[in-house]
């Protein structure tokens, strides 16, 4: 058990990611990556899938990375990480290298869509790494196309009339692999995020963190609002903060009285059509899906409490 961080000065003070990369101003994903890197133990290797984070940080002949970093393709970050992990394990045993901590960074597309098979395989094999999906709810690098994590109702360039399907439950998918640790997090709640990262690295196996990362470019909002939107996502119950440790669910930020969902939706251009009266059915469907998800979580976490109590005897 690592001692939870309470103050900023308890975090690593060296920047593993240099400023001067080419992400959009106010990029939520890059704020998340920076927080994660301040919390992750060293020595650390980063494995990255194709997507915004990779493209904005590695433009040859420059690099923003002050730690070892590898990008191979879009759908295979978990497989690449499997190879890195296995290699360093054997090389250390042979006296030819040493084990590093491994952090995988992939977008919602690279994780929940095209990369899901590689991720599932790596989870099942039990490689020791922390896999972070930074979720900006669309394929941003290719210009805002929908992913299976794009929310119901949201506009994207391939859902011009609003997406008709619900967001996939990524943590449930991860948890179904019986991995030791899975959690959600977002940037406003930085203490929650960094402590989850620190905890994730303590397990001898794969851990998964689903990080909500607002993208002003793809969601059409004022870049100054990135962090506030990440807060509203939680406070409206749209993106609950919870963790699943060895199958036991725990809500980390209990939202007793949620703020109206509109507060989260209104500042974002991608939801403007939802606010029109003729689309009230879509808005209703989105609200129902948010409520249902929260209720499910409450049930799961109550079961978790009982399980936890039973475990304590």
């Amino acid at each position: 058990m690592v001692k939870p961080v309470q103050r900023l000065d308890e975090l690593v003070d060296t920047e593993a990611l240099s400023p001067g990369h080419s992400a959009c101003a106010g990029c939520g994903a890059m704020i998340a990556v920076r927080q994660i890197l301040m919390a992750a133990p060293h020595p650390l290797i980063v494995v990255n899938a194709t997507g915004c984070v990779e493209v904005v940080s590695t433009q040859i002949p420059h690099t923003a990375w002050n730690i070892p970093y590898i990008h191979v393709a879009f759908e295979n970050a978990a497989a690449v990480a499997s190879g890195v992990e296995a290699a360093l394990d054997v090389l250390e045993a042979k006296g030819l290298g040493r084990r590093h901590h491994i952090l995988v960074l992939a977008g919602d597309g690279g994780t929940a869509d095209i990369g899901l098979q590689a991720l599932s395989g790596a989870f099942e094999r039990g490689h020791r790494f922390v896999y972070v999906c930074y979720d900006n709810e669309a394929y941003m690098n290719t210009g805002i196309q929908r992913s299976s994590l794009t929310p119901l109702g949201a506009w994207s360039r391939t859902t011009p009339a609003g997406k008709l399907e619900e967001k996939k439950d990524l943590v449930a998918i991860a948890t179904a692999h019986r991995i030791p640790y899975a959690a959600t997090a977002t940037i406003f709640f930085w203490k929650d995020l960094v402590n989850k990262v620190r905890k994730a690295f303590t397990f001898d196996g794969p851990s998964f963190i689903h990080v909500y990362a607002p993208c002003n470019r793809g969601w059409y909002f004022n870049p100054a609002e990135t962090v506030r939107l990440s807060k509203l996502a939680v406070e409206t119950r749209y993106f609950p903060l919870y963790e699943v440790e060895r199958g036991v669910y725990r809500i980390n930020y209990f939202v007793a009285t949620p703020k109206p969902l509109e507060m989260f939706l209104k500042p974002q251009g991608r939801f403007q059509h939802l606010l029109k009266p003729e689309n009230s059915h879509l808005m209703e469907a989105l609200k129902q899906s948010v409520d249902r998800r929260w209720e499910e979580l409450v049930v799961l976490s109550q079961r978790g409490k009982q399980a936890y109590a039973a475990m304590q005897g």
Binding site: T63, Y69, I70, A73, S82
Partner: protein
């Protein structure tokens, strides 16, 4: 003084697995597919029995197999994978990346045709589909060669002047499942031949960024440099063969039988043995040019072997539908054209989907070739050897 084992009876796949074990690989990541499967089955057993100190990653697809190898090689491991056919097609994307990232992965390809229709038997469609991926590509004639080439492949791939992935091709079933007497090396000889070399790897003490984004202002130079490394790997290949502590006869970039003959048959893989056998047995004055190193294509050596020929027959075991010529024929014709040599070149398409190349069929063809050469016929022909042997 070499201390050699007594010869042992091994299938092509067993020989490859033994070579990989003796090469002291650190990571094997692979996925089953016929006719390669028994290579990785054997390797997983070596690891389970403690005979090979490696991690065997049972990945969920070939795409992940090669991806894991790229990651492992980037982290400094010596690693190996094997595949065939659909598996190689699924790896296609990562093959280009492995070469572009200059990782020294070694892969055995037990050649098999591609679907549809689905068919598990040999031809070269699989590797020809990845012909331009930037890998060193070696073709083996027999089981002994498959064994030796795998060991040589590690030395070649890891040479700092090369640093490229290497594919060792062995004809599916014809070699992968055929048992032959193999003369293995002693373990210590293999270790001595494959010292661990330092290279840039993922390491916290000296951080590097691998697989970065390149824009039009840098991409061209990076790819040219990579192509040059592949080009010059021919010389390193020769050094690697020269330094090999076992039998090296017939292991040069090209192996030429009957160099003085006016009719020359050019081929890849196990077919060379069949062609030589028929030529010898029935007394045809036909030369056989066996291209061992297919990429980089040994232009000077193939040209030297063909420059005096009156008629050239190129045996292609893959189609390139809609192209000006099938893959090997296309290389040979380009070579002759550049050298200003105008001679009749036949393309002989054979063995698709595992159709046997019988001695009877070869005999008939060699007869035709010799006749055509004698008559001085200048036209190029495409011949399809489609006779079905009795099942």
């Amino acid at each position: 003084m070499q201390r050699l084992h007594a010869p042992v009876l091994l299938s092509g796949n067993d020989a490859v697995a033994l070579a990989v074990k003796q090469s002291d690989v650190d990571v094997v990541a692979a996925y089953p597919i016929t006719p390669q499967t028994t290579i990785v089955e054997k390797l997983s057993k070596y690891v389970a029995d403690g005979e090979l100190r490696a991690r065997f990653i049972s990945v969920e697809s070939e795409h992940s197999a090669l991806s894991a190898c790229v990651g492992a090689a980037a982290a400094g491991a010596r690693c190996f994978t094997a595949t065939s056919s659909q598996g190689l097609a699924l790896m296609h994307e990562v093959m280009y990346i492995a070469a572009g990232m200059r990782v020294p992965v070694v892969m055995a390809v037990a050649n098999r045709t591609l679907s549809a229709p689905i068919n598990i038997h040999c031809d070269h469609s699989d590797i020809m589909g990845s012909r331009d991926s930037g890998w060193v590509q070696i073709f083996c004639e027999n089981v002994q060669e498959a064994y030796s080439r795998v060991i040589q492949a590690f030395r070649l791939a890891e040479d700092s002047r090369v640093q490229l992935p290497v594919a060792v091709n062995l004809d599916g079933f014809t070699l992968s499942h055929c048992y032959e007497a193999v003369q293995p090396l002693e373990d210590e000889d293999v270790r001595g031949y494959l010292p661990r070399r330092r290279r840039v790897v993922l390491d916290y003490e000296s951080p590097v960024t691998m697989g970065g984004l390149s824009l039009p202002n840098t991409y061209f130079e990076i790819k040219l440099e990579q192509a040059r490394a592949l080009e010059s790997s021919k010389h390193v290949f020769r050094e690697v063969v020269k330094a090999y502590p076992g039998e090296k006869d017939g292991l040069d970039v090209v192996d030429v039988y009957n160099p003085g003959a006016s009719v020359k048959a050019v081929c890849l893989g196990s077919t060379a043995g069949t062609l030589r056998h028929v030529a010898k047995t029935y007394g045809f004055d036909v030369g056989v040019v066996n291209v061992k190193l297919f990429r980089p294509f040994p232009r000077e050596e193939v040209l030297a072997a063909l420059s005096e020929a009156g008629l050239v027959a190129v045996f292609d075991r893959a189609l390139s539908p809609g192209a000006a010529a099938n893959p090997l024929t296309s290389d040979v014709k380009a070579l002759l054209y550049d050298a200003g040599l105008r001679k009749p070149v036949w393309t002989v398409v054979y063995g698709l989907g595992g159709r046997d190349l019988t001695t009877a069929v070869v005999r008939k063809l060699l007869e035709e070739l010799v006749e055509a050469a004698y008559a001085g016929r200048q036209e190029a022909r495409t011949v399809y050897l489609r006779e079905v042997a009795a099942w």
